[in-house]
């Protein structure tokens, strides 16, 4: 009676649609095995294998950008243009992270093959999260994305030589873990309530059910729906680090090994925002209190976005460690991305705004990925083996000692502010545009004003690098080996390409429709 799935049923699941993610998962397991049996002298092959796996997955994504059939696994997974684009972004993130890590791990005495396995597993989780079309998949993929990150944040635990630093890494890991598990519990409870209100976990099913609930007069269904939405928002909001669920961010970013920080600042955001978009747009876009109103969750998202923008930008000003500064900056950027999510809520009466916001978000994430990876690469280059050397003061006079790194970091800072001809500007422009289009003028005003504030601390960085210090006061950067520099310059090229060769990016984004 019990039928095990045959090859035919598997083919019926359209697995080829999810091939990039599946391939990466398989590749990761192979990597784990290979690393286990590699003799110690040949361990340097592990990152190369990891890069190969990522590249293979990237190529598959390229060939799979606009599949005819978009649903796989019986509707649990969606591989549309949105998935394809973000897959590429997250794969690029992982690629740059691996480049960044090789030298860093060697320097800090934490070179273990499992690092790459965990990194790739997290990437796999992100990819499945991007395509998830079911609350169950979102939850499991979310955990698959997070749990490796908990371990990676504490990865310096394996370094026995520098006690203080190890403790910071451990503290970072456990803080991330406790709060992450805490927020997961909220997400699960929210999913349970959504399930209770709609009777399904499938996002499209939820959409249909929500339509009926909104039209109907069942008060308790509406309440369950709203409460479930709120809790799901909390769970995902934690991952993307928006206020007030951001508290873990600075501490974890500071304590984690820098390449890991770089990775989690981008990948977790990509996964979180992708799911947020899917949940809000595909599942809950019609969730209103009364006819003719925007989605009920929109005002919550607006408030969160505004708070995030203000707090992230404000607190960043007082930071002395660049790692912490970038952590707050990443909180602020989550706020800008949240603006796009808020804009989606106006789809009901501004048709098309959801797609505009989604496309804006994609460009923003792409630009943010390059910028942030680049900035963290520079930090990695400057970081000393014991984790010091990343204070703002350590950047003084960088232009004198490492002009290349300084110029790159300067451009990254400009991109983070959102100066034209950098990728950051393109992202901001599109996201703000969508926000204005959605009629959320106050939010757009806050966004622009806080980006003015952000100039304060980024400019401080630029001042430190270019205008202060004399010939010999520069930080003799310890890092800056070839792969690290390659990461810096690749990111720099990315930032400039996104900022200048705009047609290239918009051409790609134009293919993407979320609705």
């Amino acid at each position: 009676m019990f039928e095990t799935p045959t090859l035919d049923t598997l083919i019926g699941y359209n697995l080829n649609v999810a091939l990039p993610a599946i391939a990466l998962a398989l590749g990761t397991m192979i990597l784990l095995l290979v690393d286990l049996f590699l003799p110690d002298e040949r361990k340097h092959w592990t990152p190369i294998l990891a890069l190969a796996g990522l590249s293979a997955s990237f190529v598959m994504t390229l060939f799979n950008l606009n599949p005819a059939e978009t649903e796989a696994f019986g509707g649990m997974f969606v591989a549309d243009g949105f998935t394809g684009f973000l897959n590429m972004v997250v794969l690029a993130t992982a690629f740059l992270t691996v480049l960044l890590s090789t030298d860093y791990l060697r320097r800090t005495n934490t070179q273990h093959g499992e690092y790459y396995t965990l990194l790739l597993m997290s990437t796999t989780g992100t990819m499945f999260m991007i395509g998830a079309n079911d609350l169950v998949v979102i939850f499991v993929a979310l955990e698959l994305l997070s749990i490796p990150l908990y371990v990676l944040a504490a990865f310096r635990v394996t370094d026995g030589t520098r006690q203080a630093w190890v403790l910071r890494s451990e503290e970072s890991g456990i803080k991330y873990f406790i709060l992450g598990a805490f927020s997961s519990a909220f997400f699960v409870y929210g999913a349970a309530l959504l399930y209770g209100a709609t009777g399904t976990t499938n996002l499209e099913g939820i959409f249909a059910a929500v339509q009926a609930i909104v039209a109907g007069s069942d008060a308790s269904a509406k309440f369950l729906l709203l409460a479930g939405t709120a809790l799901a928002l909390v769970g995902l909001g934690f991952k993307v680090a928006v206020v007030p669920f951001h508290t873990w961010t600075p501490d974890v970013y500071e304590g984690a090994p820098t390449p890991v920080t770089a990775f989690m600042s981008v990948a977790a955001k990509i996964g979180g925002f992708a799911s947020l978009m899917r949940l809000m747009v595909v599942g809950l876009s019609v969730l209103t209190l009364a006819q003719g109103l925007p989605a009920a969750w929109q005002q919550v998202v607006q408030v969160i976005a505004a708070l995030t923008l203000i707090l992230g930008n404000l607190v960043a000003v007082a930071q002395t460690s660049v790692k912490r500064l970038l952590a707050y900056s990443s909180i602020a950027h989550a706020g800008y991305l949240m603006m796009a999510v808020a804009a989606v809520g106006s789809e009901a009466f501004v048709p098309g705004v959801a797609n505009a916001a989604a496309q804006g978000m994609l460009v923003y994430l792409l630009a943010y990925m390059f910028t942030n990876m680049g900035a963290f690469a520079v930090v990695t280059a400057l970081e000393k083996d014991d984790g010091t050397g990343v204070n703002l003061d350590d950047f003084i006079g960088l232009y004198n000692t490492r002009p290349g790194l300084a110029v790159a970091m300067g451009i990254f800072a400009l991109s983070l502010i959102g100066i034209p001809l950098t990728g950051g500007f393109m992202g901001k422009w599109l996201v703000f545009g969508a926000t204005v289009q959605a009629g959320l003028i106050p939010l757009a005003v806050i966004g622009v004003l806080t980006s003015v504030i952000s100039a304060f601390y980024y400019v401080r960085l630029i001042v430190n690098m270019f205008l202060l210090g004399d010939k010999d006061s520069g930080n003799a950067a310890v890092g800056g080996s070839l792969p690290v520099r390659a990461t810096v310059y690749a990111s720099l090229a990315g930032v400039l390409v996104v900022g200048i060769a705009v047609p290239l990016v918009t051409g790609l984004v134009n293919l993407v429709r979320l609705i």
Partner: protein, 487 residues
């Protein structure tokens, strides 16, 4: 108050009490034990909610394995009593936590309180519907006029309306394709099924629950064939809409639609289901299993002939409501017999598959006129040509969305079909946990140092230098790296 309510109250109170106990207990071991007790109570709740499998997993995995792990770590670290080493007291935190907890409970409970402690009415699963075109239609007039040959078979009400009262009698069968249109319910635009072929059944499709109107049109020219037919589709139901002929003298409407509603409930793990419809002979038929001897076995009892073979479905009236029957899976010789125990049609080596539903149509072959004087009531209709026996089977599992609730089998099957992706992801997740635990628990430091030492000893240049200096052959005996610390 029933026993179950009492049980719920007691166990529920116990669960809450254990949770509070865990919260306030000073001894970590006690806390863990409280939690285990709480898990046990929750497992009991699962049982009450018809989820025996989950209850079992809860006890075995949660209360057993996971909590044992907790206890083990507590004992390992000797952390059963919390030693307060911190300087910050956070006295305000207790108050804050209480207030926040209360607010959380308030916010979460709000929906239920406002909704009058009523969970949302479950809309149920969308009803499934299919249409069977058994389109045999008999037409006749009441007064038998002087024999005028039937000119136009008319399924068209307009045409028939125009016809004079003393229209010539005619009997025509329509066996072409029909178009079925569903309007109403929560559909924004009508659902149209085109080209439903004669003698065939469509696939099942989802329709939102609600009240509908069914309209039948002749496919070739769009003539309306029957009065709009009201159809109510309830949630969690399967409906087969059978189209077949019935004459209405007054309205001159032709076809009649008969829905056969089945529940969504499973037939049985080893049974297949039949829906039988007789559009062929004006006799009442039965569907029987001929048994191993492949022939009808009868016996006479009290003067009456009694059938010995197993009847799957009986009383299949001519153009009456379709009859549903179920039978165990297997290969049989089956037959349709009339009340005189004559075999109308037999099915040899007929395989019944579990969890399928088949529609069996007994119908005439093709389109042909029927003698005008035919009288179905007297059984006088003669079909000169043969008949067709149509057996339509739906592809795939019909009821696979509804495994038995809460059973391990149900969960197991759904896990490997619908939930294949999360299952794989969870597998990956466990692998990650494995790797993660190894990474974190790795003895720190020593290995690296040792490796560094080994490196120094075996560094090639040194060996080469020695080789050069001594001029002799140097055995580069590389010390094996300790494979014990390999991970």
């Amino acid at each position: 108050m029933g026993v179950d309510v009492l049980l719920f109250l007691v166990v529920g109170a116990l669960a809450v009490g254990c949770a509070i106990g865990m919260l306030i207990s000073d001894n970590a071991v006690h806390s863990a034990l409280f939690l285990i007790a709480n898990f046990g109570c929750v497992a009991f709740m699962y049982l009450m909610l018809d989820a025996p499998f989950i209850a079992m997993v809860q006890i075995a995995v949660y209360a057993g394995a996971i909590m044992v792990l907790f206890l083990f770590v507590i004992m390992l670290l000797g952390a059963e009593q919390s030693h307060d080493t911190t300087t910050v007291t956070f006295r305000w935190l207790t108050g804050a936590a209480t207030i926040l907890g209360a607010s959380l409970l308030f916010a979460l409970g709000l929906p239920l309180v406002i909704g009058g402690f009523q969970l949302p009415e479950t809309a149920g699963r969308a009803p499934l519907l299919r249409v069977v075109n058994a389109g045999v239609s008999l037409v006749r007039t009441q007064e038998i006029a002087p024999a005028e040959p039937a000119a136009a078979a008319t399924a068209d009400p307009a045409a028939t309306a125009e016809a004079p009262a003393a229209a010539p009698a005619e009997v025509v069968r329509f066996s072409g394709e029909v178009q079925v249109t569903l309007t109403g319910g929560s559909l924004s635009e009508p659902l149209v099924l085109n080209n439903v072929p004669f003698g065939e059944a469509t696939d099942f499709f989802d329709v939102p629950a609600g009240d509908y109107t069914v309209q039948l049109l002749r496919q070739e020219d769009g003539q309306i064939m029957a009065a709009p037919y009201p159809l109510t589709l309830a949630a969690d139901s399967v409906t087969t809409l059978t189209l077949f002929g019935e004459y209405d003298f007054e309205a001159r409407k032709l076809l009649k639609l008969v829905p056969v509603a089945n529940s969504l409930a499973q037939v049985g793990n080893d049974e297949g289901r039949f829906i039988l419809f007789n559009a062929y002979t004006p006799q009442t038929l039965s569907f029987i299993d001929l048994g191993p001897d492949q022939a009808i076995n009868t016996t006479t009892r009290d003067g009456a002939t009694v059938l010995l073979d197993t009847v799957i479905a009986a009383d299949i009236a001519f153009e009456g409501a379709p009859v549903t029957g179920t039978y165990r899976e297997g290969t049989y010789s089956l037959a349709l017999i009339n009340s005189d125990l004559e075999i109308i049609h037999r099915l040899d080596n007929y395989t019944i598959t579990a969890d399928t539903e088949k529609t069996l149509l007994l119908m005439p072959d093709g389109e042909q006129p029927v003698p005008a004087d035919a009288d179905p009531d007297s059984g006088g209709i003669q079909f000169p040509a043969g008949f067709t026996f149509r057996s339509t089977v739906l592809p795939g599992l019909v009821f696979d969305t509804e495994p038995s609730f809460g059973s391990p089998l149900g969960i197991g099957r759904i896990l490997f079909t619908v939930y294949l992706l999360p299952v794989n992801l969870v597998g990956l997740l466990l692998l990650v946990a494995l790797v993660g635990v190894i990474v974190i628990s790795r003895p720190s430091g020593e290995k690296q140092e040792r490796r560094a030492n080994i490196r120094r000893r075996v560094s090639r240049p040194l060996v080469n230098v020695i080789a050069q200096q001594t001029g002799g052959e140097v055995t580069t005996e590389t010390p094996k790296l300790g494979s014990g610390d390999g991970s």
